[in-house]
């Protein structure tokens, strides 16, 4: 009997916590104010939302306008539609845009894999194991969050260049495998600390060592937080401009942001239509990921912001 009921209790405890952390927290919401003030609130919010979205809508519309019309035709619905912007932009540089999309995707995937494994194993050690120097090491990790990245930039660049890693993806990938993102370590520590300790005790009784416990017990339960880490990593890596600018000079290796930058430098300000077309393409994956995973993003930043 006990053997059967014990795991079930831990599982339901876990589920309660997972619901609290992983799902959109359950708020009992009462609508306050009179109907008039509620209506006014919607007017303000809708107005502001539209105001903020307008530049994006304008860009989408501009990507379908002939370059000459971009600034003269101010309406959101193009007077004349020019579908060729996408084709022109796609082939405007030395390589087709598919190469830059592929490069960016490759870097994003490598960074996700690196961050998920290295940050979660580090967070597991800080959150669930007791050992000498734990507090100091964790404090050190948090302190690096406040460290401006440029203060370590030049020596790191020197090391990478001595290793012959300039013009390779290694400087943009390897740090992700070394748990260098303190923000993610912190986020995962917060999440793992909330998991019931009995889980670990049960695993220990079953003869699991620390590594096995991490892999078979804690990792699977941390999936919601790992989703947060993955989506944040994807967006950050996809947008990343400075690292590729510094380490990549060969056009074959360019990522989407570098290609866009190159496009602007090469075409000047004449090819507005194709530029906006490629801008729209460069933003679509981020916006797509945002809509798929915004629950995880919002819970993620709310968790780290709180404590």
């Amino acid at each position: 009997m006990t053997e059967l009921t014990a795991p079930r209790t831990t599982r339901s405890t876990w589920r309660a916590i997972a619901q609290k952390l992983g799902s959109d927290a359950v708020y009992t919401e009462e609508l306050t104010g009179t109907p008039a003030t509620r209506f006014l609130r919607h007017v303000v919010l809708l107005g502001l939302g539209l105001f903020m979205m307008y530049p994006l809508l304008w860009m989408l519309s501009a990507s379908f306008k002939p370059s000459g019309d971009v600034f003269s035709d101010t309406g959101l619905i193009p007077a004349a539609t020019d579908w060729s912007n996408y084709g022109t932009g796609w082939n405007a540089l030395e390589h087709g845009f598919q190469l830059y999309l592929f490069n960016s995707l490759l870097l994003a995937v490598a960074n996700i894999v690196g961050n998920v494994f290295s940050c979660s194993i580090t967070a597991y050690v800080f959150a669930r194991l007791r050992f000498r120097g734990r507090r100091l090491m964790f404090a050190l990790t948090l302190a690096t969050m406040l460290l401006p990245s440029h203060v370590v930039l030049i020596p790191q660049y020197v090391v990478f260049s001595k290793l012959g890693w300039i013009n390779t993806y290694l400087p943009l990938i390897v740090p992700a495998f070394l748990a260098t993102n303190a923000f993610f370590v912190f986020l995962l520590v917060q999440f793992m600390r909330a998991l019931p300790m009995e889980l670990q005790d049960a695993a220990k009784i079953d003869g699991c060592g620390a590594i096995r416990t991490y892999w078979s017990v804690i990792m699977p339960l941390t999936v919601p937080a790992l989703a947060t880490v993955s989506i944040f990593t994807f967006i950050a890596s996809w947008n990343e401009f400075f690292g590729p600018l510094l380490y990549l000079t060969d056009q074959k290796l360019f990522t989407v942001p570098l290609a866009l930058r190159q496009f602007i430098a090469a075409e000047g300000s004449s090819a507005w239509g194709p530029m906006f077309a490629m801008s729209v393409l460069s933003l679509l994956p981020v916006i797509g990921f945002f809509f798929i995973g915004q629950r995880y993003l919002i819970n993620g930043i709310a968790t780290t912001g709180m404590k």
């Binding site: 708020y27 919401e29 609508l31 306050t32 104010g33 509620r38 609130r41 919607h42 303000v44 919010l45 939302g49 903020m52 307008y54 530049p55 600034f71 003269s72 101010t74 290295s118 580090t122 050690v125 194991l129 007791r130 050992f131 090491m137 990790t141 690096t144 406040l146 460290l147 401006p148 440029h150 203060v151 370590v152 930039l153 030049i154 020596p155 790191q156 090391v159 495998f177 070394l178 260098t180 060592g209 967006i235 401009f241 400075f242 600018l245 942001p257 866009l260 507005w272 906006f276 801008s279 460069s282 933003l283 981020v286 916006i287 945002f290 993003l297 930043i301 709310a302 912001g305 709180m306």
Partner: protein
Amino acid sequence: MATLTAPPRPRTSAALSEPSRRRRSAGQDNAAYVMLIPWVIGMLFTLIPFGVSLYLAFTDYNLLQPAEFVGWDNFVAFVNDPKAMTAAEVTLRYTFIAVPISLVAALGVALLLNRGVRGLKFYRSAFYLPSLIGASVAIVMLWRSIFGFDGIVNGFLARFGIEGPSWTSDPSWALVTLITLSVWGFGAAMVIFLAGLRQIPRMYYEAASVDGATPVRQFVSITLPLLSPVLFFNLVLGLIGSLQTFTQAYVFSGGTGGPADSTLFFNLYLYQQGFQQFDMGYASALAWVMFVVIAIFTAINFLVSTYWVFYND
């Protein structure tokens, strides 16, 4: 359970469990250290460069020849470098305008959304999305276009009979363009505020309104104190992030910091010195100036926070 642990003979069980616990914890220590290997390498790869850059700040170094010790020369050069002073001024002005406006906007919208609005998730997404893409090349270029002389911003102003300036090429307006871009991304702070507001027990407000407190009074006496840790968190991260702005300035000005150095952010100048002039000693000195300034700001923030941040534990 009870049957398993039944008649405990204290002395024996203590004698048995003592060494085994010690052995187990030693084993756990080792496992912990093994699992920390990636972290240790990563940490060394941060801490050693941190020290080395301090050393390089006192040298003349261009990556090809060995670094040559020059004492305080780089820092003397910094103080006498009008471009560096401009860069510091641009960065500080941007930070001190953009961060407060963003925080006020974030808090204001969070308060509006917190009052039980239908469609909360829709609004939250619409306000949050810009903060994720605000520093991308595409959006910075978009900003340049909409603030161009014949862009939609001036088109909008013209409807009210205002003739807008040439935002992107007039040195006195270029930075304003980037400030608006920064404020556009207030959503990240807003989501954190919103989560903080949810933590405030509703009964405080109920008690206050029973006592006849006005909404303004409730905001000042309940919301602000209980939200102050979140406000502090957003302020510290906002300042640190804003002082390190790079991509926006680089893309906006094509890497020059123009027009007339009006968007020459500190990190952009550092990049120019270190990676275009290859004056890496001087760039390291600039990096350390940046580090010290950020450390001072953060320290002041933490000191002052004891007077206004309220922890309800």
